[in-house]
Amino acid sequence: MTRYFSRRDFIKTTGIGTVGLALGGPAFIGKAFAQPAGRRTLRILQWSHFVPRYDRWFDPFVKRWGEEHNINVIINHISLSDLRSTFASEVVAGRGHDIVEFIDPPSDFEPSVLDLSDLNQEARHRFGQQVPFATRSSYNPDTKKYYGFCHGWTIDPGDYRKSLWQKVGKPDGPRTWEDLLVYAARIKQELGIQNGIGLSQELDSNMAGRALLWSFDTGTQDAREHVILDNRKTVEAVKYMANLYDRTLTPEVFGWTPASNNQLLIAGRASYILNSISAYRSAQKDVPEIAKDIYFSPALKGPGGSGWACEHVIYVSVIPKFAAANADIAKQFLLDLCANYDRAMWESELYASPAFFNTPLLSGDRGYPRVRGAKKMRDLFSHWFSDDPYALPGEARGKLLPLKDAESWATNVGHPGPANPAEGEIFGTYIIPNMFARVAQKQQRAEESVKQAAAECQRIFDKWRAKGLIGHRG
């Protein structure tokens, strides 16, 4: 007799199946992250690099490293904007990746990650001193804990169009914020090309605002992590920015994304932007005639002679507490990544710079033309920044020379103090760009806007101090 599958049977079966899935699903997902017996597995989570060529090198490098150490390596690249939320979910779930790489100091994750003091000590032993702002971006002086390991950073110079600056009598581009105001205004007035400093709720506007504050000898915190924003120098900096907006910018800077300044420069519509060399590299590929006209200047100096650039892309890896079982191989991998940073520099087209300049160069074929006499990363760095290996045919040589001493004018978020969670929250919620923008838009007076921003910063600092992640150093 044929047994028909009735509607009731169907509903029962699917109902039971759904319940089974609901109850058994988590166990199945859990198994996906479980350690298989035998060969160990290292899981790496990181952002999709701004320079795609870097990832094309990195992924096979990681696989090869895994084969050499008899380790399965799984690498997942995700969008930068998803990185924090993904890692937060993994922290709550108590399982996930063994290494997570951020491009800003993840100091608020300190309670959930391993203390990497031993790794940092071993790295200094093998590769020499770390650039100071890399240490300040991975070490909490209050808890005496290395919550991360910083292996590299990105130089953030000023990118200017030489032909435009030549026409207004400043062929070597601006050297001070005052130069920027005076000459960029002339370029806008006489040549119709605007300046390109962002005033929006985005990464590069955050960077520009901090660079300006530090160059005016002020900032959000002092070296002992006390809020100092509400002072006369901040008010001057805010008034300067409002003036810069009036004379050199257009309303579009209030709506910018991190890519907008690159886009404006490449479109030939910006005289100056604050950015890494990525905008220039993109122009080399897409609009060579613009690229040939792009030159670089170091951090602009303020009225007191200080000049600082904000490290808004700094590579900090963490090892979560839940990955303690794999900490040994994760640390081994990070040390080996540092040892191979010549390739990281080369494959990122000089976008990434090493945090350990005294790392000895490995022998053998390194995938780039050998540099005579180069023994350490520093030698390679100096050579490549003196004579850009990626310069276009017929392009002027030595354009990257002003960036050779970038580590002396680059500094971390939180300068002159460490990059603590309060600084991270201030950065992540755009309090500084908003402070500048309110005055540029004439919604508030400079003094009021600074007071409001300082009060917001103070509230954030108090909260994190109560959590014990910022100390009470007097």
Partner: protein
Amino acid sequence: MRSGRPFHRDSLTAFALLVPVVVYLAAFIGFPFVMSFIYSISNATIGDPHFSITGLNNFREMFHDAAFRTSLANTFIFTFVSIALVIVLAHILAELLIRDFPGKWIARFLLMLPWTTPIALGTIGFLWFMDSVYSPFDWLLRKLGLLGSPGDLFGPMSNLYWLARPGLAMASVILVHVWRLLPLATVILIAGLNAIPREIVEAAQIDGAGYFRRLFHITLPLLFPVIGVTVLFSVFFTFTDMTVVWILTRGGPPPHATQVLASLAFLKSIQGGDLAQGAAISLFFFPVLAGIAAIVLRLVKKAVVV
């Protein structure tokens, strides 16, 4: 005769059928809701799964925060302007689409397209349209001589900067949201219009009632329950949505000109790391939406009874 046993076969089947729904509601709505409440009275951060209860501090801080007050006002503007436009436009479209005309199915198909497009993709398309350098809208206005030269209707600047000026940015966000909600609202209203008995309309026509008299005395009163449900859906969609705002403006131009509560909660909790503050902001939705739902459903019920 049915058995008197408490666990009759049918009862068990009914129970089994209900279990998935109960599990789903408990896991994906109940549990997050309870967690949100707990987080909102704690000092939880995204970097630390441990937290302690701190009382109502987060709510007090929330009300003192200028960004929250701005976002609250923006949320109401965004929601009510969007919904008013959706209801008016949906009604016009529904009136047109219930009539017979050549190519009616193509028109209906085109109308539904925005609803079938993933919202993130559609919004990214608009992001390009409203780009500060390459906007095709601006290009068209320049070609028409309406933008880019002194004396032009939209000003001498080369671009309108859709997403950089506070008023225009809010208008852009509303425009994209209306584009997204319009198909659903239109389809619901078409169904409502088709359900109105033809004889009532015909009787009114015979009695000499004109279009507007029929609209305000017959169509709209009979459509009221349908419009109520449409409004309710739209309010929920709009009040809790951050996709359009986040992709187009990320809450800017500064300071928070288009920030809505949903995007502010994300900004504070994920980007800022303050999970507790984010949870407090999201919980603000609950009494507001519950209140709106209660009012609308009451009005709808009244209309149906009448």
